[in-house]
């Protein structure tokens, strides 16, 4: 079934890359964009969101803080933290939050792998 993906990144370019890549993989899925953590939380209140893609390095609350907030509110939501910052501490913190580390620049292969896993998880939760 079609899903709704929340894309959070302070860079419009990065949001464009993510939404275009998502449209290539799942043309029937919807996407909601947010430029920071506050907008992301507002978007979450305003509509149903199934999956989140979050940038790490953002002004205000960074991606890890937002991912932790989202995890508290939505324990079963598949979350990916998207970043070029491949330091092991970052990867470890992302995993501690039960989120998936997806490297930037975002590729179709990496996003597709995450979305496949996310979709399976959502189906399992719904059963």
């Amino acid at each position: 079934m079609p899903r709704t993906v929340l894309i959070v990144d302070d860079s419009k370019l990065a949001r464009m890359v993510a939404s275009k890549t998502l449209a290539k993989i799942h043309p029937d899925w919807a996407c909601v964009e947010a430029g920071d953590a506050t907008q992301a939380m507002a978007a979450l209140q305003a509509q149903d969101v199934d999956i989140s893609l979050i940038d790490l390095n953002m002004p205000g609350d960074g991606g890890l803080v937002l991912a932790a907030d989202l995890r508290r509110k939505r324990p079963n939501m598949p979350i990916a933290v998207v970043t070029a910052n491949i330091q092991e501490e970052i990867v470890a913190r992302v995993r501690e939050l039960g989120a998936t580390f997806v490297p930037k620049p975002l590729t179709e292969e990496a996003l597709s792998a995450f979305l496949t896993g996310a979709n399976l998880r959502l189906r399992k939760v719904a059963q």
């Binding site: 302070d10 860079s11 275009k20 390095n57 070029a84 491949i86 330091q87 092991e88 501490e89």
Partner: protein, 207 residues
């Protein structure tokens, strides 16, 4: 006055963000501690203004590893930190057990080599995103204030694209900056490359 559009500024900052993320991962491997990064800032400034940003109060005495890059766009990449942090950084690179005199002897060499890895990682990632080759000069270690570090990159009143990111090595009290100066003829090319990149990203080619 040279202007860049919001989306071009956004694109340069985002590509720099990706590039500095890779560079930070290289630095983390060298020093063994996490490297914290700020959000990059991108501006078109005069050479003078850029050097004033770096030479904030308390930053009069700076040390920098500098590499010039050349290709479709050219400029200078610098890894800058207060001179007071230099020996701590060298210690973080070489290990705590080395005696001070050895560290002093190896200071420039260790800084140049570390800078080379980080700056290459930074510039190479930008080159890869744009799918263009860039050549890098050998690293040089410079000491002085902001103006001295940027000398030779452009005239004092000339405009440069100035990209600036703070970094901090956790548990080491080492802070610094990664800066990129690009001259205006290069900036024109960079804008073309950014637009080409945006065209591949945006379905309508419009940004």
């Amino acid at each position: 006055m040279m202007q860049i559009s919001d989306i071009e500024r956004d694109a340069v900052a985002e590509i720099a963000n990706i590039a500095v993320g890779r560079a930070a991962a290289s630095l983390r491997q060298i020093v063994g501690n996490e490297v914290l990064l700020s959000v990059p800032s991108v501006d078109i400034l005069t050479h003078d203004e850029a050097s004033r940003v770096v030479a904030k109060p308390g930053n009069r005495s700076l040390i920098a590893v500098c590499q010039n890059f050349d290709g479709p766009f050219s400029g200078r990449a610098l890894l800058i930190f207060p001179e007071a942090n230099s020996l701590q950084l060298v210690r973080a690179i070489l290990g705590q057990e080395l005696p001070l005199e050895d560290i002093v002897d190896l200071e420039d060499e260790a800084l140049a080599e570390t800078g080379n890895i980080i700056l290459n990682s930074f510039v190479a990632t930008m080159a890869n995103v744009f799918k263009r080759g860039l050549t890098m000069s050998l690293p040089t270690v410079l000491r002085g204030d902001g103006g001295q570090l940027f000398a030779g990159a452009a005239g004092e009143k000339e405009l440069v694209l100035f990209l600036y990111i703070n970094f901090e090595i956790s548990q080491k009290e080492i802070r610094g900056y990664l800066a990129l100066l690009m001259d205006i003829p290069s900036l024109e090319m960079l804008r073309t490359l950014v637009q080409d990149y945006l065209d591949t990203v945006s379905p309508k080619g419009a940004a």
